[in-house]
Point group: C2
Chain length 231, copies 2
């Protein structure tokens, strides 16, 4: 991979602290590929041969069982996915497909495991990343088990509004996929948007306006231990 691409990877907390020589060695086996939209990158149950880094575009992590499918997460630049499988040398638990045209760096899992053993700073960063991933999934589970779908949507909108820093914004994802991520059907999501109108939400296509942030928050009751990604 080129040096400029290497810089993008190096900027990640996961790779920022490791030794220079080790990082270069890791990049030696790494290659970057461009993918069109809607391409399957990996499929659950396959051996985790590569740690993936999304450099640009967006990737959907999803799972299937018994002809049902659910969206588990969206990965946006610059970040990695399926680190746990790579480190553990176990099969992927989730599948991944590009949502848009994407540039992905592929780091051989074997090299990751080797560097993990060789470079203490890298090992530390990996543990921090895994701890963070774990806490994110736990928060997601709490969201799913403690809230109704309407409450999940309300809190999702508040989170979006906060990360964008504005009371109005465009949805970054298809409503169909948002529904799947929130654990409901598209039909139910459509009705949920309607049901949030009296709580201060206006929907025009994919453009959302939170007309009454306090009112929506009063209904949604956001909680740092579910809705804050930083803690």
């Amino acid at each position: 991979m080129s040096d400029s691409q290497g810089e993008e990877v190096r900027g990640l907390a996961l790779f920022a602290t490791m030794g220079d020589v080790n990082f270069k060695a890791l990049m030696r086996g790494t290659y970057v590929q461009n993918f069109p939209p809607r391409i399957d990158l990996i499929h659950e149950n396959e051996p985790a041969d590569f740690l993936h880094v999304v450099l640009s575009g967006a990737v959907d992590l999803f799972s299937q069982w018994n002809r049902r499918e659910t969206s588990m997460a969206t990965v946006r630049p610059v970040s990695t996915f399926i680190l746990a499988a790579s480190i553990s040398d176990l099969p992927y638990l989730m599948s991944a497909r590009t949502l848009e045209k994407s540039r992905i760096a592929l780091i051989p899992s074997q090299d990751v495991r080797r560097m993990f053993a060789a470079d203490t700073a890298f090992a530390t960063a990996i543990a921090a990343e895994l701890a963070n991933s774990y806490r994110t999934v736990v928060k997601n589970t709490k969201d799913l088990k403690l809230r109704t779908s309407l409450e999940r949507l309300a809190n999702y909108l508040l989170r979006q509004s906060r990360t964008r820093g504005a009371p109005d914004f465009d949805l970054t994802t298809e409503k169909k996929r948002l529904a799947s991520f929130l654990g409901m059907t598209p039909e139910n999501l459509s009705r949920a948007f309607r049901a949030l109108e009296p709580h201060g939400v206006k929907v025009e296509g994919s453009h959302i306006t939170i007309t009454d942030p306090q009112g929506l928050a009063r209904y949604a009751k956001p909680n740092p231990l579910i809705d804050d990604y930083s803690t």
Copy 2:
């Protein structure tokens, strides 16, 4: 803590590989406490001062939001809980209470973080443990999102039967808590048990007999990427 108690902790994969001196140093700050049943050990949002190790008994991890409560996991000997919070020096995401009389070792999080930086083998073991925890929660999320409550119960019973190595067994947990863990109400669980009868499940109080394992499996469609804890 005494040496014999130290041995129990040492037996855990998490502590088995670290240096002897480091392990002893870690145990120096550790103390063991006995708790009666139904005692709150930690509460979500508190600072993660201690890594907990269940030496005997059983501990329920649960979360609350807006006057609702859900059981997230049961921790049985010998294993640790809230490692991610300890390592990250972030508040607990879950609360914990004893289910039975329990013996718990409390390891100061500060010491854990110090040893994590000092002992490479320990750091490796921590990353492995975190990766494993992450994958467990992902499997749990797939269970929740891809299956109905009836399917979750059926698969739960198959998992129990498999880990006990017998087609009949006693439930290790109250039905009320099992319901909460599976993401349903006690009433719904009671009816779910009834609904599984035609699929080969007999319920007498807390004693479960799987009269038709193949039939139940045909209905439950167990999947290694959801139901196997080892992969």
